[in-house]
Protein backbone atom coordinates (compact mmCIF):
# COMPACT_ATOMS: atom_id res chain seq x y z
CA UNK A 1 0.00 0.00 0.00
CA UNK A 2 2.62 2.45 1.09
CA UNK A 3 4.78 1.42 -1.84
CA UNK A 4 1.97 2.03 -4.33
CA UNK A 5 1.23 5.37 -2.78
CA UNK A 6 4.85 6.38 -3.04
CA UNK A 7 5.19 5.40 -6.68
CA UNK A 8 2.01 7.28 -7.56
CA UNK A 9 3.14 10.32 -5.70
CA UNK A 10 6.58 10.18 -7.33
CA UNK A 11 4.95 9.92 -10.73
CA UNK A 12 2.74 12.88 -10.10
CA UNK A 13 5.71 14.89 -8.85
CA UNK A 14 7.55 13.99 -12.03
CA UNK A 15 4.62 15.04 -14.19
CA UNK A 16 4.13 18.29 -12.30
CA UNK A 17 7.73 19.40 -12.14
CA UNK A 18 9.41 18.14 -15.28
CA UNK A 19 12.87 16.82 -15.69
CA UNK A 20 15.20 19.77 -15.23
CA UNK A 21 13.80 20.85 -11.86
CA UNK A 22 13.93 17.28 -10.62
CA UNK A 23 17.55 16.96 -11.76
CA UNK A 24 18.41 20.11 -9.82
CA UNK A 25 16.68 18.78 -6.74
CA UNK A 26 18.50 15.46 -7.13
CA UNK A 27 21.89 17.16 -7.37
CA UNK A 28 21.08 19.29 -4.35
CA UNK A 29 20.18 16.21 -2.35
CA UNK A 30 23.41 14.54 -3.45
CA UNK A 31 25.37 17.54 -2.17
CA UNK A 32 23.43 17.33 1.11
CA UNK A 33 24.39 13.65 1.31
CA UNK A 34 28.10 14.49 0.97
CA UNK A 35 27.90 17.23 3.59
CA UNK A 36 26.09 14.68 5.77
CA UNK A 37 28.95 12.21 5.27
CA UNK A 38 31.52 14.72 6.45
CA UNK A 39 29.23 15.79 9.29
CA UNK A 40 28.84 12.26 10.66
CA UNK A 41 32.53 11.45 10.24
CA UNK A 42 33.65 14.66 11.93
CA UNK A 43 31.20 14.38 14.82
CA UNK A 44 32.39 10.88 15.63
CA UNK A 45 36.05 11.80 15.12
CA UNK A 46 35.71 14.64 17.60
CA UNK A 47 34.66 12.19 20.29
CA UNK A 48 30.87 12.10 20.17
CA UNK A 49 29.01 8.78 20.07
CA UNK A 50 27.35 7.98 16.72
CA UNK A 51 23.83 8.43 18.08
CA UNK A 52 24.37 12.16 18.64
CA UNK A 53 24.78 13.16 14.97
CA UNK A 54 22.30 10.44 13.93
CA UNK A 55 19.48 11.62 16.21
CA UNK A 56 20.25 15.30 15.54
CA UNK A 57 20.13 14.76 11.80
CA UNK A 58 16.65 13.21 11.95
CA UNK A 59 15.04 15.40 14.61
CA UNK A 60 16.66 18.77 13.88
CA UNK A 61 17.27 18.38 10.14
CA UNK A 62 19.13 21.68 9.79
CA UNK A 63 22.82 21.26 8.99
CA UNK A 64 24.44 24.46 10.17
CA UNK A 65 22.83 24.35 13.62
CA UNK A 66 23.85 20.73 14.04
CA UNK A 67 27.46 21.55 13.19
CA UNK A 68 27.31 24.31 15.76
CA UNK A 69 25.81 22.00 18.39
CA UNK A 70 28.34 19.25 17.73
CA UNK A 71 31.25 21.72 17.64
CA UNK A 72 30.38 23.28 20.98
CA UNK A 73 29.60 20.00 22.77
CA UNK A 74 32.70 18.27 21.38
CA UNK A 75 34.85 21.18 22.62
CA UNK A 76 33.48 20.56 26.11
CA UNK A 77 30.85 23.29 26.10
CA UNK A 78 27.45 23.06 27.72
CA UNK A 79 24.82 21.27 25.58
CA UNK A 80 22.29 23.90 26.62
CA UNK A 81 24.50 26.72 25.35
CA UNK A 82 24.98 24.65 22.20
CA UNK A 83 21.21 24.29 21.80
CA UNK A 84 20.68 28.04 22.22
CA UNK A 85 23.34 28.82 19.62
CA UNK A 86 21.71 26.30 17.30
CA UNK A 87 18.28 27.84 17.85
CA UNK A 88 19.59 31.25 16.94
CA UNK A 89 20.88 29.82 13.67
CA UNK A 90 17.55 28.10 13.07
CA UNK A 91 15.44 31.17 13.78
CA UNK A 92 15.59 31.83 10.02
CA UNK A 93 12.91 29.16 9.64
CA UNK A 94 10.38 31.60 11.06
CA UNK A 95 10.65 34.00 8.09
CA UNK A 96 10.73 30.94 5.80
CA UNK A 97 7.32 29.93 7.11
CA UNK A 98 6.08 33.46 6.55
CA UNK A 99 7.38 33.49 2.99
CA UNK A 100 5.83 30.20 1.85
CA UNK A 101 2.29 30.56 0.45
CA UNK A 102 -0.46 28.71 2.32
CA UNK A 103 -0.78 25.05 1.39
CA UNK A 104 2.81 24.47 0.25
CA UNK A 105 3.78 22.47 3.32
CA UNK A 106 0.75 20.19 2.97
CA UNK A 107 -2.67 19.81 4.56
CA UNK A 108 -3.89 18.24 7.79
CA UNK A 109 -1.62 15.40 8.97
CA UNK A 110 0.71 15.73 6.02
CA UNK A 111 1.54 19.18 7.26
CA UNK A 112 3.16 17.80 10.42
CA UNK A 113 5.86 16.16 8.30
CA UNK A 114 5.72 18.96 5.72
CA UNK A 115 6.62 21.44 8.45
CA UNK A 116 9.55 19.33 9.61
CA UNK A 117 11.13 19.20 6.14
CA UNK A 118 11.23 22.99 5.85
CA UNK A 119 14.87 23.82 5.17
CA UNK A 120 17.02 26.16 3.07
CA UNK A 121 16.86 23.91 0.03
CA UNK A 122 13.17 22.99 0.02
CA UNK A 123 12.15 26.62 0.55
CA UNK A 124 14.36 27.86 -2.27
CA UNK A 125 12.98 25.30 -4.72
CA UNK A 126 9.39 25.96 -3.69
CA UNK A 127 9.68 29.73 -4.03
CA UNK A 128 11.26 29.37 -7.48
CA UNK A 129 8.20 27.60 -8.91
CA UNK A 130 5.53 29.66 -10.68
CA UNK A 131 2.31 28.21 -9.24
CA UNK A 132 0.97 26.47 -6.16
CA UNK A 133 0.85 22.84 -7.46
CA UNK A 134 4.42 23.11 -8.65
CA UNK A 135 5.55 24.87 -5.48
CA UNK A 136 4.01 22.08 -3.44
CA UNK A 137 5.57 19.33 -5.59
CA UNK A 138 9.04 20.92 -5.52
CA UNK A 139 8.84 21.47 -1.77
CA UNK A 140 7.81 17.89 -1.15
CA UNK A 141 10.40 16.35 -3.47
CA UNK A 142 13.27 18.39 -2.07
CA UNK A 143 12.11 18.17 1.55
CA UNK A 144 11.75 14.40 1.49
CA UNK A 145 15.00 14.06 -0.46
CA UNK A 146 16.88 15.99 2.20
CA UNK A 147 15.12 14.01 4.93
CA UNK A 148 16.56 10.84 3.36
CA UNK A 149 20.01 12.14 2.36
CA UNK A 150 21.04 14.16 5.39
CA UNK A 151 20.53 11.49 8.08
CA UNK A 152 21.67 8.79 5.64
CA UNK A 153 24.90 10.66 4.99
CA UNK A 154 25.40 11.38 8.69
CA UNK A 155 25.05 7.74 9.73
CA UNK A 156 27.28 6.37 6.95
CA UNK A 157 29.83 9.12 7.63
CA UNK A 158 29.70 8.32 11.34
CA UNK A 159 30.38 4.65 10.65
CA UNK A 160 33.34 5.58 8.44
CA UNK A 161 34.58 7.97 11.12
CA UNK A 162 34.44 5.27 13.80
CA UNK A 163 36.63 3.03 11.66
CA UNK A 164 39.43 5.60 11.48
CA UNK A 165 41.44 5.82 14.68
CA UNK A 166 44.12 8.49 14.64
CA UNK A 167 41.94 11.14 13.01
CA UNK A 168 44.43 13.97 13.51
CA UNK A 169 47.01 12.19 11.37
CA UNK A 170 44.60 12.39 8.42
CA UNK A 171 43.84 16.03 9.06
CA UNK A 172 40.20 15.27 9.80
CA UNK A 173 40.15 17.96 12.48
CA UNK A 174 40.68 20.55 9.72
CA UNK A 175 37.64 19.28 7.83
CA UNK A 176 35.18 20.59 10.38
CA UNK A 177 36.03 24.30 10.09
CA UNK A 178 36.53 23.83 6.33
CA UNK A 179 33.01 22.47 5.86
CA UNK A 180 31.43 25.35 7.76
CA UNK A 181 33.57 27.86 5.90
CA UNK A 182 32.44 26.38 2.59
CA UNK A 183 28.83 26.66 3.72
CA UNK A 184 29.04 30.35 4.66
CA UNK A 185 31.37 31.57 1.94
CA UNK A 186 28.49 32.85 -0.22
CA UNK A 187 27.29 35.02 2.67
CA UNK A 188 30.81 36.32 3.23
CA UNK A 189 30.85 37.83 -0.27
CA UNK A 190 28.73 40.62 1.16
CA UNK A 191 31.26 43.14 2.54
CA UNK A 192 29.17 44.22 5.55
CA UNK A 193 28.43 40.67 6.62
CA UNK A 194 32.08 39.76 6.14
CA UNK A 195 33.24 42.61 8.34
CA UNK A 196 30.84 41.60 11.10
CA UNK A 197 31.79 37.93 10.75
CA UNK A 198 35.51 38.75 11.01
CA UNK A 199 34.90 40.93 14.05
CA UNK A 200 32.84 38.15 15.63
CA UNK A 201 35.57 35.62 14.92
CA UNK A 202 38.12 37.94 16.53
CA UNK A 203 35.98 38.41 19.62
CA UNK A 204 35.49 34.65 19.95
CA UNK A 205 39.22 33.98 19.57
CA UNK A 206 40.13 36.58 22.19
CA UNK A 207 37.51 35.18 24.56
CA UNK A 208 38.69 31.56 24.26
CA UNK A 209 41.50 32.29 26.68
CA UNK A 210 39.14 33.28 29.47
CA UNK A 211 35.72 31.79 28.90
CA UNK A 212 34.64 28.15 29.14
CA UNK A 213 34.11 26.31 25.85
CA UNK A 214 30.99 27.22 23.90
CA UNK A 215 30.57 30.74 25.27
CA UNK A 216 33.14 32.47 23.02
CA UNK A 217 31.07 31.52 19.96
CA UNK A 218 27.97 33.07 21.54
CA UNK A 219 29.90 36.18 22.54
CA UNK A 220 30.72 36.71 18.85
CA UNK A 221 27.17 37.99 18.41
CA UNK A 222 28.36 41.31 19.83
CA UNK A 223 29.60 41.91 16.29
CA UNK A 224 25.98 42.14 15.20
CA UNK A 225 26.08 45.72 16.50
CA UNK A 226 28.16 46.58 13.42
CA UNK A 227 25.15 45.78 11.26
CA UNK A 228 22.50 47.69 13.14
CA UNK A 229 22.19 50.89 11.22
CA UNK A 230 21.80 54.07 13.22
CA UNK A 231 18.65 55.86 12.01
CA UNK A 232 19.46 58.83 9.78
CA UNK A 233 19.82 62.06 11.73
CA UNK A 234 17.95 64.22 9.23
CA UNK A 235 14.30 63.25 8.93
CA UNK A 236 13.29 62.32 5.42
CA UNK A 237 10.58 64.32 3.70
CA UNK A 238 7.51 62.57 4.93
CA UNK A 239 5.79 60.78 2.08
CA UNK A 240 3.32 59.18 4.45
CA UNK A 241 1.33 61.15 6.98
CA UNK A 242 2.51 58.94 9.83
CA UNK A 243 3.11 60.45 13.25
CA UNK A 244 6.82 60.98 13.85
CA UNK A 245 7.51 57.73 15.62
CA UNK A 246 11.15 57.38 16.54
CA UNK A 247 12.30 54.11 15.00
CA UNK A 248 14.24 52.11 17.53
CA UNK A 249 17.01 49.91 16.19
CA UNK A 250 15.86 46.34 15.87
CA UNK A 251 12.24 47.27 16.43
CA UNK A 252 10.07 45.92 13.61
CA UNK A 253 7.43 48.61 13.46
CA UNK A 254 9.36 51.60 12.21
CA UNK A 255 11.19 49.57 9.61
CA UNK A 256 8.45 49.43 6.99
CA UNK A 257 9.07 52.54 4.97
CA UNK A 258 11.86 54.95 4.29
CA UNK A 259 14.61 53.27 6.29
CA UNK A 260 17.06 53.17 3.43
CA UNK A 261 19.06 56.38 3.26
Amino acid sequence: MVEVFRINSMRSIYRTLGRSVLTDIGLTCLAVFFIGLSYGAIAVASGLPLWVPAVLSVLVLAGASEFLFVGIVAAGGSPIAAALAGLLVNSRHLPYGLALPAGVTGRRWGRLLGTHVMNDESVVFALAQPDLPRKRAAYRACGLGVLACWPGGAVIGGLIGSAVHNTNAFGLDAMFPAVILALIVKDLRDARTRRAALAGAGIALAATRFLPAGLPVLLALVALLLLIRVPAATPEPAATPEPAATPEPGHPVGAQAGTTP
Binding site: F67, L94, A102, A174, L221
Partner: protein
Protein backbone atom coordinates in the same frame (compact mmCIF):
# COMPACT_ATOMS: atom_id res chain seq x y z
CA UNK B 1 32.17 13.45 25.26
CA UNK B 2 32.72 15.13 28.60
CA UNK B 3 29.14 16.13 29.28
CA UNK B 4 26.72 13.68 30.92
CA UNK B 5 24.38 11.95 28.47
CA UNK B 6 21.20 13.33 30.05
CA UNK B 7 22.38 16.89 29.54
CA UNK B 8 23.24 16.16 25.90
CA UNK B 9 19.79 14.66 25.40
CA UNK B 10 18.23 17.74 27.00
CA UNK B 11 20.20 20.04 24.70
CA UNK B 12 19.32 17.94 21.69
CA UNK B 13 15.62 17.90 22.57
CA UNK B 14 15.64 21.68 23.11
CA UNK B 15 17.21 22.25 19.72
CA UNK B 16 14.82 19.86 17.96
CA UNK B 17 11.65 21.17 19.63
CA UNK B 18 12.64 24.80 19.22
CA UNK B 19 13.48 24.34 15.56
CA UNK B 20 10.12 22.69 14.90
CA UNK B 21 8.42 25.58 16.68
CA UNK B 22 10.16 28.08 14.41
CA UNK B 23 9.12 26.07 11.36
CA UNK B 24 5.52 25.92 12.47
CA UNK B 25 5.02 29.39 13.89
CA UNK B 26 6.03 31.21 10.70
CA UNK B 27 3.21 29.45 8.86
CA UNK B 28 0.69 30.06 11.62
CA UNK B 29 1.58 33.74 11.91
CA UNK B 30 1.59 34.35 8.16
CA UNK B 31 -1.83 35.95 8.07
CA UNK B 32 -1.22 38.12 11.10
CA UNK B 33 2.22 39.70 10.92
CA UNK B 34 4.63 40.97 8.33
CA UNK B 35 8.24 40.24 9.11
CA UNK B 36 10.39 43.21 8.15
CA UNK B 37 13.12 42.23 5.65
CA UNK B 38 15.66 44.06 7.79
CA UNK B 39 14.98 41.78 10.74
CA UNK B 40 15.28 38.74 8.48
CA UNK B 41 18.64 40.04 7.26
CA UNK B 42 19.88 40.54 10.82
CA UNK B 43 18.90 36.98 11.73
CA UNK B 44 20.76 35.73 8.69
CA UNK B 45 23.83 37.77 9.64
CA UNK B 46 23.65 36.46 13.21
CA UNK B 47 23.84 32.93 11.87
CA UNK B 48 26.85 33.76 9.70
CA UNK B 49 28.63 35.45 12.62
CA UNK B 50 28.09 32.45 14.90
CA UNK B 51 29.35 30.05 12.24
CA UNK B 52 32.36 32.25 11.41
CA UNK B 53 33.23 32.32 15.11
CA UNK B 54 32.96 28.54 15.17
CA UNK B 55 35.29 28.31 12.16
CA UNK B 56 37.84 30.57 13.85
CA UNK B 57 37.78 28.83 17.22
CA UNK B 58 37.84 25.27 15.86
CA UNK B 59 40.57 26.13 13.36
CA UNK B 60 42.88 28.04 15.70
CA UNK B 61 42.31 26.82 19.23
CA UNK B 62 42.51 23.61 21.22
CA UNK B 63 41.25 23.91 24.78
CA UNK B 64 42.29 27.40 25.87
CA UNK B 65 45.43 27.55 23.72
CA UNK B 66 46.70 27.61 20.13
CA UNK B 67 46.06 24.54 18.00
CA UNK B 68 49.36 24.64 16.09
CA UNK B 69 49.87 25.73 12.49
CA UNK B 70 48.84 22.64 10.53
CA UNK B 71 45.09 22.88 11.09
CA UNK B 72 44.59 26.62 10.40
CA UNK B 73 46.80 26.28 7.30
CA UNK B 74 44.53 23.55 5.96
CA UNK B 75 41.45 25.63 6.71
CA UNK B 76 43.00 28.67 5.05
CA UNK B 77 43.63 26.70 1.85
CA UNK B 78 40.04 25.45 2.00
CA UNK B 79 38.79 29.01 2.44
CA UNK B 80 40.68 30.23 -0.62
CA UNK B 81 39.36 27.31 -2.68
CA UNK B 82 35.79 27.92 -1.48
CA UNK B 83 36.10 31.61 -2.30
CA UNK B 84 37.15 30.63 -5.82
CA UNK B 85 34.07 28.43 -6.05
CA UNK B 86 35.84 25.08 -6.04
CA UNK B 87 33.49 22.10 -5.56
CA UNK B 88 32.56 21.30 -1.96
CA UNK B 89 34.34 17.95 -1.94
CA UNK B 90 37.58 19.50 -3.23
CA UNK B 91 37.45 22.18 -0.54
CA UNK B 92 36.96 19.74 2.31
CA UNK B 93 39.50 17.17 1.10
CA UNK B 94 42.08 19.91 0.51
CA UNK B 95 41.76 21.02 4.13
CA UNK B 96 42.40 17.50 5.39
CA UNK B 97 45.22 16.86 2.89
CA UNK B 98 47.13 20.08 3.61
CA UNK B 99 46.85 19.58 7.37
CA UNK B 100 47.90 15.93 7.17
CA UNK B 101 50.83 16.79 4.91
CA UNK B 102 52.06 19.56 7.20
CA UNK B 103 51.90 17.14 10.14
CA UNK B 104 53.94 14.56 8.23
CA UNK B 105 56.49 17.32 7.64
CA UNK B 106 56.55 17.97 11.37
CA UNK B 107 54.81 21.36 11.44
Amino acid sequence: MKEPTTLVVAGLATLAAGTYTFRLSGQLLRARITFPPRAAKLLEAAAVILLAALVATTALTEGHGFSGFARPAGVLVAGVLAWRKAPFLVVVLAAAAVTALLRVLGV
